[in-house]
């Protein structure tokens, strides 16, 4: 049976040091929910509070309507997958997977049947009698996953499960994880610092920084309408330009350096007044043209990567920017060439001067205040 998880005003302190000041989040039943953030942002701390390995200094955590703050970790019915797998090295693959079932004192036939079922599901049945030291990293990860799922937990928690694998295996395993999660339909909380990995597996992502949730949303929302400067630069790559919002004839216009202006129709009403702003333009949201309207810039360098070509430019006022264009059949623009940069105005994001909020409409954020 799957559950929803409610975290209400959770506080985590190590001595005098507050790691999580006040955090609330709702995780829906059966969803794949990811905590994403740079190292030290508190994502693993939060996961371990849910698991019961970290104490909770304030607030409450609920599984459905059951408060679990003081429930022994052994009784929370959680399946957990650790960064270093935490496979018992002294037990065979089968005994590792069966460990939790034996602990629950089920009868032998059931244990055998369930163990076989999950080993088959994770494609490790052929290694059933091997010792873990003779398994590859990917195989160990599969054992860890089978061991966590076989006890039919209410919640599956995964702490950077792919970070010890090589790049190719990581891509392969994240497909496996997503597929298994969907077929079992279990509420999953996943921790990672790799935004690409988070986008690939998650239904929803919570972006965290300094112990606080910045934004919660689907991968698409986070990328296209980030709630603030941190999210816009942590998810994907972006260029941050200084500019100003100007009202002309009752219509908001965005003015870039050098006087380049574009009309912005989707500014939230409360922000529709003259103000300095920061503009987040992703590399693919620039259009390069040799002449015409735009920000004046000089090409410094270019990298041809097959599908795309990356250009590195310096604008007239000295800001460095990166631009991605689909590779053309004709020649690459040479370094030293002067160009004009225009923007795809429906895609770019406009932030307040301090970067704390996105002033455009359509920013979805499931984050709860307070």
């Amino acid at each position: 049976m799957s559950v929803n998880i409610k975290v209400k005003n959770a506080v985590k302190k190590y001595g005098e040091n507050t790691v999580i000041p006040n955090l609330s989040v709702d995780i829906r039943e059966g969803e794949f929910f990811t905590l994403l953030g740079p190292s030290g942002c508190g994502k693993t701390t939060l996961l371990r509070m849910i698991a019961g390995f970290n104490s909770i200094e304030g607030g409450d955590i609920f599984f459905n309507d059951k408060r679990i703050n003081d429930l022994d970790p052994a009784k929370r019915n959680i399946g957990m997958v650790f960064q270093n797998y935490a496979i018992f090295p002294h037990l065979s693959v089968r005994d590792n997977v069966a460990f939790g079932l034996k602990q629950r004192k089920l009868d032998k036939a059931t244990i055998r049947e369930q163990t076989d079922k999950f080993m088959k599901l994770m494609h490790i049945d052929e290694y059933a009698d091997r010792m873990p030291e003779r398994l590859s990293g990917g195989q160990q990860q599969r054992v860890a996953l089978a061991r966590a799922l076989v006890i039919q937990p209410d919640v599956l928690l995964m702490d950077e499960p792919l970070s010890n694998l090589d790049a190719k295996l990581r891509v392969e395993m994240r497909a496996v994880i997503k597929e298994i999660q969907h077929s079992v339909g279990i509420t999953t909380v996943y921790v990672t610092h790799d935004q690409e990995e988070a986008m690939a597996v998650s239904d929803r992502i919570a972006v965290m920084n300094l112990g606080e949730i910045q934004q919660i949303g689907s991968p698409k929302t986070l990328y296209q309408r980030p709630a603030n400067l941190f999210v816009s630069s942590f998810i994907g790559r972006t260029n941050i330009l200084q500019g100003a919002l100007k009202m002309k004839d009752g219509r908001p216009w965005l003015e870039f350096e050098g006087g380049y202006c574009v009309p912005m129709d989707d500014v939230q009403p409360e922000y529709q007044h003259d103000a300095p702003v920061q503009i987040s333009v992703r590399p693919e949201e620039f259009v390069i043209s040799p002449d015409g309207e735009g920000i004046r810039a000089v090409i410094d360098d270019s990298v041809f990567l097959g599908l795309n070509t990356h250009y590195f430019v310096t604008t007239e006022s000295g800001v460095k920017a990166e631009i991605v264009q689909e590779s053309m059949i004709d020649s690459i623009l040479p370094a030293g060439m002067s160009v004009n940069l225009s923007v795809k105005r429906e895609k770019i994001n406009v932030l307040t001067e301090d970067g704390s909020a996105n002033i455009l409409t359509g920013v979805l954020n499931d984050k709860q205040e307070g």
């Binding site: 970790p73 650790f82 935490a86 460990f99 602990q103 629950r104 006890i151």
Partner: protein
């Protein structure tokens, strides 16, 4: 709510351990301190005054220092190059040599001293041989020189083993990098290898110093009037004339202060060299060729041979015929027959006392290691510190403290087997804790958490997941502890009586009586026990490296 959660099963374990330490370590030490400064219910500095006023005692202190420093230096000079050669070059017969090296440091030092007296004493076989060749007697082995020789040959294996361990963590690329920068051979040894091993060298130096400083049997047998600290402590407490228990206690307190200061200096020094290494590519041993190869082999064989010679000689002696106390021509089992009556009791005691002490050491060491590594708290810091106290207390002082602590009602334990077990337990546990801590630090906490998330209680998780992972390390540590327990002398000699005599103590008794044959026979039996234990160790740990 918080508090209630923290006070789990492990808090009880902490408290139980603390009580054990308070009773068997802190209480006797406090009694010892009191004995050193209280006369007839009055505080007095008189006993300390006696020590510092009488030049004789000052000289003894000086003697102990001189020979400990000399033995430490010689052990380092002998042991470091040997470790270097063993890790850099393919030495022929290395496995056998390594077993012998371990055997040498596992036997009781006084047996070595005793054998050296037999070999190089005034009437020793080698002395006579040399005299016959060069026409006059070679310089005497007795006194300072003899003690340093015996202790160095006894203790350099410790340096060898510790430094070998450190060299195994040196990445080959470091050596290649230094070669790349033009530093190779001898200058690389001094400029790169020695600095990399410095923390270990300091630790080994401390270990050797402590053992040399606390050694009781060697100066007694080969010192011939060269008085040292432990001998005074023993004589003042158990000597035949003019014993002064309070004065013995005062000397013991001074000994503790000195070893504590040495310990702190070493800690301070090794903090300056604090770094961690982990070799991805360990050093590969190259074949030793040409003249260099010959010299390296010669050095290794001669050194190992020299340190093993006394033991071989003792075993040889055990099969010689005796007449009274003197060896005569011919071979047989007469020495064994003479001790046949003593053997069953001594062997029984050796096993009983040794195994019980071992069980206590292993269990407590695992629990303490767990508390120290996984459950840092003020309470457990106290346990950590308390458990390391015996590390700096000479064995004879532990013995005296236990006698003073437990020879009066309501706790009369002297003369019992129990106090012997307590003594061995206290002496051995710091080493076992250290090795258990090292093992535990390599086991990720997540393994235990995985077990908990799968439904184990905290204790179940510890015994089902962590202990099995520690098993090999614990087992090999236990066998090493076993070997040091069965060869322990300096504490036992103060606490034993007729009924609790062990093999080592029986040998000591025979040696002091001048019964060379029976002593040799008993020593041979002890050696066989030691060798068997070590062979089991190697079988269990599946490698040939032994560390502490």
């Amino acid at each position: 709510m918080k508090k209630a959660k923290r006070a789990d099963v492990w808090t009880l374990v902490s408290l139980a351990i603390l009580v054990t330490y308070a009773l068997f370590l802190i209480y006797p030490l406090v009694k010892l301190l009191v004995a050193a400064v209280v006369k007839d219910g009055q505080f007095t500095w008189q006993y300390f005054g006696k020590f510092f006023q009488n030049k004789y005692y000052g000289k003894t202190l000086g003697n102990s220092f001189k020979l400990s420093i000399a033995s430490t230096l010689v052990s380092l000079i002998l042991g470091i190059p040997l470790a270097y050669f063993f890790n850099m070059y393919k030495i022929k017969g290395r496995t056998l040599l390594q077993i012998i090296i371990v055997l040498c440091c596992m036997s009781a030092p006084f047996i070595g001293a005793y054998a050296w007296v037999q070999l190089r004493g005034n009437n020793g076989s080698i002395t006579r041989l040399i005299a016959a060749i060069i026409g006059h007697k070679p310089p005497s082995i007795y006194g300072f020189r003899g003690i340093v020789t015996v202790l160095s040959l006894q203790l350099f294996p410790l340096v060898f083993m510790l430094v070998s361990g450190a060299l195994k963590n040196v990445d080959n690329s470091l050596l290649e990098a230094s070669e790349n920068m033009g530093i190779s051979g001898v200058s690389r040894f001094f400029k790169v290898v020695i600095p990399l091993c410095m923390p270990t060298i300091l630790a080994a130096g401390l270990l050797v110093f402590m053992r040399a400083f606390a050694d009781y049997g060697t100066p007694l047998l080969i010192g011939q009037g060269y008085q040292t600290f432990p001998v005074i402590i023993y004589n003042e407490y158990f000597g035949e004339t003019g014993t002064d228990h309070n004065f013995a206690a005062a000397v013991a307190v001074i000994a503790i202060i000195i070893t504590a200061v040495i310990f702190l200096i070493q800690k301070w020094a090794s903090n300056k060299f604090e770094f961690h290494m982990n070799a991805l590519h360990p050093i590969e041993q190259k074949p030793a060729k040409g003249l260099r190869g010959v010299l390296i082999h010669l050095y290794s064989y001669i050194l190992v041979g020299l340190s093993f010679m006394p033991q071989v000689y003792v075993m040889y002696c055990s099969f010689r015929n005796t007449s009274g106390k003197i060896f005569v021509d011919g071979y047989g089992f007469s020495s064994y027959k003479k001790v046949a009556r003593d053997i069953p009791l001594a062997v029984r005691n050796t096993f009983l006392i040794g195994l019980l002490a071992l069980a206590a050491v292993v269990l407590l060491a695992i629990l303490i290691a767990y508390l120290v590594v996984r459950r840092r708290s003020k309470l457990n810091d106290v346990i950590d510190t308390a458990s390391m106290i015996p590390y700096i207390i000479p064995g004879s002082v532990v013995g005296i403290a236990l006698v003073i602590g437990f020879n009066q009602k309501p706790m009369v334990l002297t003369g019992t087997m129990f106090i012997m077990i307590v003594a061995l337990f206290i002496r051995r546990i710091p080493y076992t804790i250290r090795s258990s801590v090292a093992i535990l630090q390599q086991i990720p906490m997540t393994v235990e958490e995985a077990a908990i998330s799968l439904g184990c209680s905290k204790m179940e998780a510890f015994f089902k997941a962590t202990v099995p992972m520690m098993r090999n390390g614990i087992l090999s540590g236990a066998i090493l502890s076993w070997v040091t327990i069965i060869t322990e002398l300096s504490t036992g000699v103060i606490l034993f009586n007729r009924n609790t005599v062990t093999l080592t103590l029986a040998i000591y008794t025979q040696v002091t009586r001048g019964s060379d044959g029976p002593a040799a026979a008993l020593a041979t039996i002890l050696n066989v026990l030691t060798i068997t234990s070590l062979l089991i160790f190697m079988k269990v740990s599946k490698n040939k490296d032994i560390s502490f």
